[in-house]
Symmetry: C2
Subunit: 296 residues, 2 copies
């Protein structure tokens, strides 16, 4: 088992990032991660702007070099566990409810006994990982963005028990993880969940030579393509196209039959729809007893 | 109990439609409904175009005049039961998978023992109601459209056990229902589910003087604003705004606190995202023990 300390954090997905650690097929790795504000928000007595300054959001841990991973392969990231710290930050950072004339509203909320309390309501935490990404050749991609190699997908179903399948585009894949939320709503309308420090325990696996154009989240019951775009419409369209292709290929169906099946049985939920560029969605299909897996 | 025969069908939501039936607060009414093609698709031996011709889609049953309903009120439509016929039609009528150069692909699928079979897969039916709408003053709205009074929302959670809350804009509300699908995927990517004849049994209830700007679906566990727009972004934005207002009002919170809560705990799923005008979404919030209801 390897541990990557949160001292190894990056702000840009890049093939030029020096690997913080190596892992082989099947190995377990712990990513220790910082909250999206790099721990700079410590009090409600000062503004968020005063505390954070120009620091970029979402410092994320890695990269992990997956031995043997080559362009054209896919890696599986099994989320074995996520633990979180004892407090987090929620803010209205962007989205339709953000008033840019005013200081950014925020709260520091305690996490006690696995519960979040806000006003007079409390609920169980449901930790998820915002940033799960690989590097792309010839591109430097800010850690705040989602892209076809993953990144800041902000999907609340990337939680304990899920597997994220990611296309490999550079040798070693260069896996980066971070931006844990103790709780986050679908759509993440204000651009934040409960942003928090934590640890992510994963198993990485390698699948050689498989065409994958967008990250896929596998849950116990379903498969979801994670796609993004400058608008929600763009993101959804991309997800539809990839899901149709994956279903047709796995089930040995025509693209037309895959389309019928999706309109009869598909899922379509939002990961992050702040209505600023880089909205992300998940286009899903149920697992079916006796039918082939979509990947792996 | 009243029964409205499918002989009473309309193609336009209008305040000028003559009521097919009246009901008082709390009364149970059965809507008998036609499939979206008005039963014109009966064989796979002819094209869909040959069978349907210029007939408008979604002939829907009604309207029902709810006694005592006045503009500024809200009606609740409790979906007590939905039964369906023994076969339905699925087609690739629109959306990103539609090739307009070719004849519209379609299938007639049997429904047997509560199951749909397609290719080598079968699954339980999950009947839902596509059109649930009221009339608007001064506007004639085609039955294929969704709008702030409901209409063709195509939400798969409008199923047995759900309640749809609709704003009343004309005397009697003029409730219309139809367009049952035996099975439909979120997003309804091809513009159809399994389109089928059936019967919808509802209880109508009247809530006097309540501000509601979009239809709301209540399930056992959650509340969902149903909103629409020419783009997915527009639809989602409208739903966010209404949900924030409803939460703030019901819980006695500021709009800012409602926004924090939504970004920590909201739901965002698609009803119909064919990526042609009139995409519809549902913006949700969980029910919480001890907290007030959002409506009623």
């Amino acid at each position: 088992m390897k541990i990557i300390s949160d001292q190894y954090y990056i702000n840009v997905h890049s093939e030029h990032n020096k690997p913080a650690e190596h892992a082989s097929d099947g190995e377990i790795v712990i990513f220790q991660t910082r909250d999206c504000y790099n721990r700079l928000v410590q009090t409600e007595e000062k503004t968020l702007e005063e505390q954070v300054g120009e620091e970029p959001d979402n410092p994320s841990t890695g990269p992990l070099y997956v031995d043997g991973a080559e362009p054209g392969d896919v890696i599986a990231v099994d989320i074995l566990d996520i633990t979180v710290a004892d407090h987090g930050v929620v803010a209205i950072g962007c989205g339709p409810f953000r008033n840019k004339e005013e200081k950014e509203p925020f709260h520091i909320l305690p996490v006690r006994d696995g519960r979040v309390r806000f006003q007079d309501v409390e609920w169980d935490i449901d930790p998820m990982v915002g940033v799960v990404g690989t590097a792309m050749p010839g591109r430097e991609i800010g850690i705040i963005n989602a892209f076809e190699g993953g990144g800041n997908m902000d999907s609340r179903i990337i939680r304990k028990g899920a597997t994220v399948w990611l296309p490999v585009r550079v040798p070693g894949a260069l896996l980066v993880m971070g931006d844990i939320h103790a709780s986050m709503g679908d759509g993440e309308v204000c651009g934040t969940g409960l942003e928090i420090d934590g640890e992510i325990t994963v198993r990485v696996r390698l699948l050689k030579n498989f065409e994958l154009n967008w990250p896929v989240t596998e849950t116990k019951d379903a498969w979801y393509v994670n796609s993004c775009g400058d608008t929600c419409d763009d993101a959804i369209r991309a997800g539809y196209m990839e899901m149709r292709r994956l279903i047709a290929k796995a089930y040995g169906w025509s693209l037309e039959d895959a389309a019928f099946y999706m309109t009869l049985r598909g899922y379509l939920e939002s990961n992050q729809a702040c209505l600023v560029p880089h909205d992300t969605f998940r286009v899903g299909t149920p697992k079916v007893n006796g039918k082939p897996r979509l990947i792996g």
